[in-house]
Amino acid sequence: MKTISLALISIFCFATMSCKAQTTISLSDFSSGDLKNDNYIKDTNGVLDPFIGTWKWTNGNSEFTVVLEKKEMYNPTYLNSSERINDYYSDVIIGGYKYIENGQVIVNTLNYTTQDAWSSDYAPIFGSFHNNGSQYKIYLKVQDEIIGKLLTGHFEITQYLTLPNDDISPIEATWRVWNREGIYINEEAPPSEISIPEEIVLQKMP
């Protein structure tokens, strides 16, 4: 009994210490210097909420659908490891996309999963809010699954209604992705082409 009590006390102390070590910082008020000490960059003000949902671009028989959701305390582990990639946790946007070109499905990742970040069916869209940027913009990392390349980009809500409580009801957003420049020493550079729409305007689906 005495041993069990000691163990419980130890666990309690450890848990208490752990809680004290991790500081929660608002996603609306963080800087790169806060990305340490297992800090939690939390969306306390709901700045990610307007992005959540289904967005669609249509042009004749072509269609590009984006589904976004919020992922809390994102910090995946290294491959086949329990060690975390980052020294911090953050609320982020993740999601998938489906591209139909001239009536033909080019790629469909909408059945994405949200648990194992190393899985081939894990959400290919990652969106991060930067409080030094626009209030309605997230910065994207998108896996182009046709060519197998991580694209960079952004997603910005450009039309919205302001509600009586000062929240917004988004109507339209721009989607823009491009290749990140770089030099590749003693390795093959990825293909330059991009197989999904690079710059379009999406409508928010009800």
Partner: protein
Amino acid sequence: MKNISSFSVFGIILFLIVVTGFSSCEMDDFEGDLPIENNSNIKITTKSYEDLKFDSKFILPFTEIANKIKTSSYTGRGSYMEETYNFTIDSTIIKEIKTDKYVSYTMLIRRDRIPENYFENLVIEVTDTSDTKAYIYQYFPNSPIQKKSHGSFIFDFNFNVIPIQYDENGKASITVGCRLAVDYCNWPNGTDDDAHIAGEGCTKAYIYQEYYELACNDGGGSSPGNYNYSPTGYYSGYNSSDPTPGGGYWGNSTHTQPITCYGLNCPEKFYISNPCDELQEISNDTDYVSELNDLENATANETLVIASDSTDLEGNIVFTFENIPGGEDQVEATINASIHSTAHNHTDADDQLSVFSLSDLYALYVLAGSGFIDDSYAHILVTNQGSGTQYALKFDDMEAFETWGDTFFMGWDLDLGPDTKNPIKESRENIYELDVNPENSNSKNESGLLKFIEAQGLGLELYETNEDFSQWSKIILNNDETTSPDPCQ
């Protein structure tokens, strides 16, 4: 006479020597092959073996040394002395110091087993009043040699003198000049702070001699000296003044210009880097500047220029370039030999960064781990963003950079297949983008990059250059996250 094998002469003399092959002062008077340094009747000329092989004053004693002291053979690049004098004379560069009655020839000595903490010169001294003499000068740098522009150096050192004389029987014996004289140049301000070993172009008014005297009761002339050497077997030396060059009593100062070990065969620990001087070497090279201008003017594809360097007869750096055109956003290159620096461009002002991308930093990490660059390497970027940005990253602590990269880029290049996103790459890009992204102003990206460098402990320094690539400045991050240039002097 004393046998050289029984001892060596050691003069413990600390003095600052600034060696410039082609510092700014040299530009004043240099004209072709003419000896252009002339003060107190001293003329200093850098020559090659080819220049001197028909000069009897040089070739006779040179050949005599080569042949009489257990010589096997010699070529235009060196003679080989075995056993006691087991070294090769590198006659690629020969410093000739000449007066009306005196001439000395200084050459670099190389050994099969590179000494760890010193380098050596052979000095042959010919006068009209005494026998030809030869000495081995061993220089022990007290601190790493600081590389300056155009292959020149600054360093403090102690030195040993091993005199060589050969008698008619071909038996090695020794004698020694009582003084070592080094010709200095204190251009441009005539102060001690400006002092460096006189280069070939030093204006006459700035030339003066420093004398380093070995304890010596020699009567001069052809007789060997009597030496007051210490119980340790080393001679001590002290600074003297106003002797005259040439053989003879109290006048037998040995004039020489130390030829520092240079090039790839030297122990690296002799050297320390000065980023400003290294970048200035780039600015001073018209071909390199032309390459940078081409990069700056490019509007379509990204291009990588790989610069390699070698040292010419005068110790100057000579650049050669490999120009690798890439795609719109990226360029790939195979590097499997030592390089001096690389330069590349960002051509799309809308989507590309005004500073280095994280992929550029990863490329630097790959290069650092390849063994094909050292800590003098320059990672140069020119862009057409706004009025154009022109940067160079230099290592402040190359080991720290590699250590950082080992963690930060761990898993960066995992090949997971086309439909699997790399969460590490995604995460690292996201962190970098908080400080550096294409929507930022140039100044914000500049400070963002410096913030990233400081916060992550990258061991890198950021430099910028002006429009014509002639002047570099280190960029400093201020407390208010603005930046300030600290111009290279």
